[in-house]
């Protein structure tokens, strides 16, 4: 780990735990399906900002935790997060310097891609096609992205300042 990354370790694990919790918290009923893929957002952030932390293996492990928590097939979240992390790590050099609007659109594309992966998994397990609300989650994720980005950035800056 570089010096740069050591300080905000707490922020990293905090965000992962928060992501796991958020992916359980129910949204008020008519909007249940609007819930974004919180763990996906967490993985995108860290793959973008601190790839030394968010390798594919870490994404896989977080995904497994998600699988255990939500009772999905073991490996389902893991696969989705590995795909996300892989794409982000690949396009990271460009995506980092995108203006926020463009970055949000990239996040939307990533999350839509994740939904497509999910559809493929559902097809293999024989679950039917979900309704159109299935596609709302990524849009909410995109809208939330700038705020989450700022929030975690501020938290990291604080943690680093305290360390110094």
């Amino acid at each position: 780990m570089s010096l740069r990354d050591r300080g905000p370790g707490l922020v990293f694990w905090g965000s992962v735990v928060a992501g796991l919790l958020l992916s359980l918290i129910a949204w008020p009923e008519p909007y249940g399906a609007f819930r974004p893929f919180w763990l996906g957002l967490v993985v995108i952030y860290w793959a973008l900002e601190s790839p030394a932390r968010m390798g594919l293996g870490v994404a896989f492990a977080i995904g497994l935790a998600g699988d255990f928590l939500t009772g999905s097939l073991l490996g389902e979240h893991a696969l989705r997060l590995v795909v996300l992390a892989f794409i982000v790590l690949r396009i990271r050099p460009r995506m980092r310097f995108f203006p926020m609007l463009q970055q949000s659109l990239a996040v939307l594309a990533l999350l839509v891609n994740d939904r497509v992966v999910m559809l493929m998994l559902r097809a293999f397990t024989g679950e039917g096609l979900p309704d159109w609300l299935f596609w709302v989650g990524p849009i909410i994720g995109m809208l939330l992205w700038p705020w989450l980005f700022l929030l975690v950035d501020v938290a990291r800056a604080r943690a680093r300042a305290r360390e110094a």
Partner: protein, 342 residues
């Protein structure tokens, strides 16, 4: 773990996340999924780890609970009065019905004596609160706040005040997961209350629809008919309300009718539910004869993700199933044949 990037200038080093590496992780995930989907090899591991999830579930449920408490606290007095009034009426109605049932039950007992039925099924219910979390908005699962410690076992039926909600699919020490009727992987054998017609109601993934495929044209079923569980297969006790037929239409092949039913239970995420345990109790007169076989002890094979567990009755011994079928056979579908229900 991709530890190689380190602090090299990340602008130029996408390696360490190369294609072989990602392929390996993806392969591992796929192997895990296939093993988990096809076999029960990971069940032990899953349930051991799931036990650790309990505190997280409770924490995740707090916001929703707080919101509910807050709403109750500041709720409009008029709303509360209206709700009170409604509940009072519902109670009155329920009591009136109970009075009628008492008479029927007594009659039933007498008839059983006449038939010399050795045993009867006593339903034992256990109240369980739902933990207000949402595992996956596109899968129909709820988490109960009671687990094996409270006598909850996989395979038990779950009902609310209005009808069948689903069944328990996994039980940990302090929580349990249930599958709703409306999950695409769920199926429940039902009877049309009016005509005795049997069918299987599959979940559709929509909270307001069950699908009853393969009903013959000319079968006696109409829009508005009530469906109750038939008890075949042994997982659900017979006679519990399941839903109401909402729509009838020919299926894709045009050889059968497909019915769409509205579930009777309120499939909400919060509140309390009743987990049923069916117990056989021998009537005192029939102490002689072989003891009733404990067939239901074997039925715990349902787990998350397995589709259509309930459509086949593998859980019981053949003898039990046959007996249940016999017990069920009274309202045989001998209704007059009518023209195709359109």
């Amino acid at each position: 773990m991709a530890a190689s990037t380190g602090d090299a200038p990340a602008l130029f080093t996408p390696e360490g996340h190369g294609t072989p590496r990602v392929a390996a992780w993806l392969l591992l995930a796929i192997v895990l999924m296939v093993v988990d989907h096809r076999t029960g090899a990971l069940d032990q591991l899953r349930s051991r780890v799931a036990a650790l999830a309990d505190p997280l579930y409770r924490i995740a449920a707090t916001p929703a609970r707080a919101a509910r408490v807050a709403r109750d606290a500041v709720g409009d007095r008029r709303d509360l009065m209206a709700e009170n009034e409604r509940l009072r009426q519902a109670l009155l109605l329920a009591e009136a019905r109970l009075g009628r049932y008492a008479a029927v039950a007594e009659q039933n007992a007498r008839l059983r004596e006449l038939l010399d039925v050795r045993e009867r099924h006593r339903l034992e219910g256990r109240l369980a609160e739902l933990i207000d979390i949402d595992l996956d908005p596109f899968r129909h699962r709820l988490v109960l706040g009671v687990g094996r410690d409270g006598g909850i076992e996989p395979g038990q039926a779950v009902i609310d005040g209005r009808g069948v909600m689903g069944q328990v699919i996994a039980a940990e020490a302090r929580h349990a997961t249930m599958l709703l009727l409306t999950d695409p992987g769920h199926a429940i054998p039902v009877t049309v209350l009016r005509s005795g017609l049997r069918a299987i109601a599959y979940g559709t993934g929509a909270t307001d629809a069950l699908r009853l495929p393969h009903i013959p044209f000319g079968a006696d079923v109409r829009v508005g008919d009530a469906l109750v569980s038939s008890g075949i297969g042994g997982r659900f006790p017979p006679g519990l309300p399941v839903g109401t037929i909402r729509e009838l239409k020919p299926d894709d092949t045009g050889t059968f009718v497909e019915a769409i039913a509205l579930p009777a239970a309120g499939l909400a995420r919060s509140g309390e539910v009743l987990v049923l345990r069916e117990e056989r109790e021998s009537l005192p007169e029939a102490a002689h004869g072989p003891a009733p076989d404990p067939g239901e002890a074997t039925g715990h094979d349902v787990r998350s993700g397995r589709p259509r567990e309930d459509a086949s009755p593998p859980a019981r011994t053949a003898a039990t199933t046959a007996r249940e079928a016999a017990r069920e056979a009274a309202p045989a579908p001998v209704a007059p044949q009518r023209s195709a229900p359109r």
